[in-house]
């Protein structure tokens, strides 16, 4: 009797599974529609734009459909330094953000674990910059680091800085701005992983003759790898495409232009839509390749 009850289960399970998948489909529908409408459609449009050719004797910004592959080769050749700079800056900013965020996230997630109130307060402070617009914060930094600002004036008064020195417009200012603006994106995923880190593994490491540094390297870092991967991705991807920090209106100058600035000026200033679209797609492709390699290297199969 007991066995016949078991035997009937698979038959009964059939409709249940089908109904579940139907519900799942309904729940997924808004997301699918959203992606179709706001991701796939513009992406296809962008691909078409990237192959357009100028209309002979037409107005500025007038293009017709075509298959002009040279849009890609020309723009890559012309903007290669900006593309390389974008990835170089983004990489540096990501590393800096990681170095700053890891101890911060470790402190909030592990050290003050027993004090939820302190934890929430510190987390609020991490997120607090989001309460002010990204543009305003970056502008504020421009003022602080401007030639008349306290930092430059102070450094010059102490003769540490040459009298014609600037901070704004330098790679330093841009990387600083990128690091500053993306630190919360690094801290929060790191916190989420470290908060769940079982300190008994650290104790076990210490018990097995590993010094605190070795325990950190061999136990803590590998166990927090999911947070490191998501934090670096959330920082690196937007930083590589950022055009605010590197813009001459904010912390950068013509010498610090990144590929985002080239895309912006081609789209909005010179109205060279095909080049801007081609650059966007190149940027996207390169990021996809880098991220693909990175995630594979970090190895999800190594994470439990």
């Amino acid at each position: 009797m007991a066995f016949s009850a078991f035997a009937s289960t698979p038959a009964a399970a059939g409709p249940v599974v089908r109904r579940r998948s139907w519900i799942a489909l309904v729940l997924l529908l808004p997301g699918i529609l959203y992606l179709l409408l706001f991701f796939i459609t513009p992406l296809i449009s962008l691909v078409f734009t990237s192959f357009q050719q100028p209309v002979i004797n037409g107005d500025i910004g007038q293009y017709s459909a075509g298959f002009q592959w040279s849009n890609y080769t020309d723009s890559v050749v012309q903007y290669l330094p900006l593309i390389l700079r974008a990835f170089g800056y983004a990489l540096l900013a990501t590393l800096l953000a990681l170095v700053i965020s890891y101890p911060l996230a470790y402190f909030i997630g592990v050290k003050v674990r027993g004090f939820p109130l302190v934890q929430s307060l510190l987390l609020t402070l991490v997120i607090a910059p989001f309460f002010i617009s990204f543009l305003l914060r970056t502008l504020a930094w421009k003022q602080i680091m401007s030639d008349e600002g306290p930092i430059v004036v102070g450094l010059k008064a102490l003769s540490i800085f040459p009298s014609d020195g600037h901070i704004t417009g330098t790679p330093f200012a841009v990387i600083f701005g990128l690091t500053y603006n993306f630190i919360p994106f690094m801290t929060l995923p790191l916190y989420a992983t470290l908060e769940r880190l079982d300190v008994r593994f650290i104790e076990a490491g210490n018990d097995l003759y590993a010094s605190p540094f070795t325990t950190f390297r061999k136990i803590t870092v590998p166990l927090s790898l999911p947070g490191i991967v998501s934090g670096t991705l959330l920082t690196f991807i937007p930083a590589a495409g950022d055009y605010i920090n590197a813009s001459g209106d904010f912390l950068g100058s013509a010498q610090t232009s990144m590929v985002g600035n080239a895309i912006e000026s081609n789209f909005l200033v010179t109205q060279n839509y095909p080049v801007a679209a081609a650059l966007s797609i190149v940027l996207m492709a390169v990021i996809l390749i880098i991220v693909g390699f990175y995630v594979r290297r970090a190895g999800t199969e190594d994470l439990i």
Binding site: A204, G205, N206, D207, L208, Y209, P212, L223, D302, L303
Partner: protein
């Protein structure tokens, strides 16, 4: 400890005046303890008695508020956990989830720069019969297998002192019995000093050479399992380590041989050698399995035998190998008798009028004052309730 070498043999452990206070409570009160090299020592006590804190202090995972920790003649009080010649088998096993079983076992060897760590790790895994699973992740193993990996990971380092923090707690009864025997075998084989923390009194008695019973941050009594069981010094020990019938009464006569105590009009005799308190109000006891159940009053009061009764059987619990009878004796309270099932099933039923008797030499006296004894009984009862490890669990209750 010199890098790259194993400890030759176990080392002794000495705790001198160890006190550990946490904000709001004292976990350990001025504890002195000496564990000789090569012994299997069990710290037994209910949860919250300070036994795990003691273990963590020895491992270096906590710092004592006061006192010294000496391992193999060397004061290690101020050294860090990773510098001590000590390994722990954690209650949660704490196997590194991102490493294979083999790498887990080789971890300590690699840290100390010991030659051919993988070979030695395989050897340790063979010892716990898990070498065929060396490539697996800990998450792919069963609880018992994880426990054995944790043991291999600690034993492979040949620590002078191996700490076991209730490592068998998560296993089911059958596997636990099997692991107890294996642990004991390994200890004999490798000759290390084992410090085993447990709340399971049967586990402590089967495995350990010496047991220290802890309660409220202090050691109540220490000794060989038989000694502790047959001659408990406090009410807590008498009831935490097995069960006891305790009677409180006034000493009416004391000779070098025997002490006579009057409890609710009944005279009880115990050997003077087994009674630390010999005047005033004392608590005496006897183990339930030492009692004989009589259905008729003994013909003539013979010397060398204590008799209580008449009383009435109020509960009969059949548990296979023995039967537990609870007998209400007027003025004395409930007396528990464990009787072997020599015949089929219980010999008397609820409501029967019975007497109990036992040999005088089986009785013992407690060091506790009556007030302390009452507190100890309460502690042991709450510990048994909390841990669910009552000495005997009745399978069926027979009621007539």
């Amino acid at each position: 400890m010199a890098a790259g070498t194993f400890a030759e043999k176990g080392a002794d452990l000495e705790l001198v005046g160890i006190t550990k206070t946490f904000p709001g409570f004292t976990a350990i009160r001025s504890l002195d303890l000496f564990i000789p090299a090569g012994s299997f020592f069990a710290l037994l006590g209910p949860s919250g008695c300070g036994k795990t804190t003691t273990l963590r202090l020895v491992a270096g995972l906590e710092e004592p508020t006061a006192g010294r920790i000496v391992i193999g003649g060397k004061d290690v009080t101020s050294t860090k956990s990773f510098q001590r010649p000590v390994n722990t088998v954690f209650q949660s096993y704490a196997l590194f989830p991102h490493m294979s079983v083999l790498e887990n076992v080789a971890f300590g060897l690699r840290r100390r720069g010991i030659a051919s760590p993988l070979e030695k790790a395989h050897e340790a895994l063979r010892l716990v019969e898990l070498d065929h699973l060396a490539a697996r992740r800990p998450a792919q193993l069963s609880g018992g297998q994880q426990q054995r990996v944790a043991l291999a990971r600690a034993v492979v380092n040949r620590p002078a002192l191996l700490l076991l923090d209730e490592p068998l707690g998560a296993l089911d009864l059958k596997l636990r019995r099997q692991m107890q025997l294996e642990l004991k075998d390994i200890q004999t084989e490798v000759g290390l000093t084992f410090l085993h923390v447990t709340h399971d009194q049967e586990e402590a008695m089967t495995m350990a050479d010496t047991i220290a019973v802890m309660n409220r941050g202090e050691i109540e009594q220490m000794g060989a399992p038989e000694e502790l069981y047959e001659l408990p010094r406090t009410a807590f020990v008498a009831n935490f380590l097995g069960q006891s019938n305790l009677f409180t009464g006034e000493v009416v006569s004391s000779t070098p041989d025997a002490l006579t105590v009057a409890s609710a009009g009944q005279q009880l005799v115990i050997p003077s050698a087994r009674a630390p308190r010999r005047s005033g109000t004392v608590t005496v006891g006897v183990r339930p399995e030492k009692l004989l159940l009589l259905t008729a009053p003994p013909a003539a009061p013979s010397s060398g035998v204590n008799v209580l009764g008449p009383g009435r059987v109020i509960d009969v619990s059949f548990s296979g190998v023995s039967t537990q009878y609870t007998i209400a004796v007027p003025g004395i309270g409930d007396v528990i008798v464990f009787a072997q099932n020599m015949v089929f099933g219980p010999v008397v039923h609820v409501g029967a009028e019975v007497w109990v008797s036992w040999n005088v030499e089986h009785g013992f006296g407690l060091e506790d004052s009556p007030a302390e004894a009452a507190a100890g009984v309460a502690d042991a009862a709450s510990a048994a309730g909390a841990d669910g490890d009552v000495a005997t669990s009745a399978l069926t209750t027979v009621k007539a």
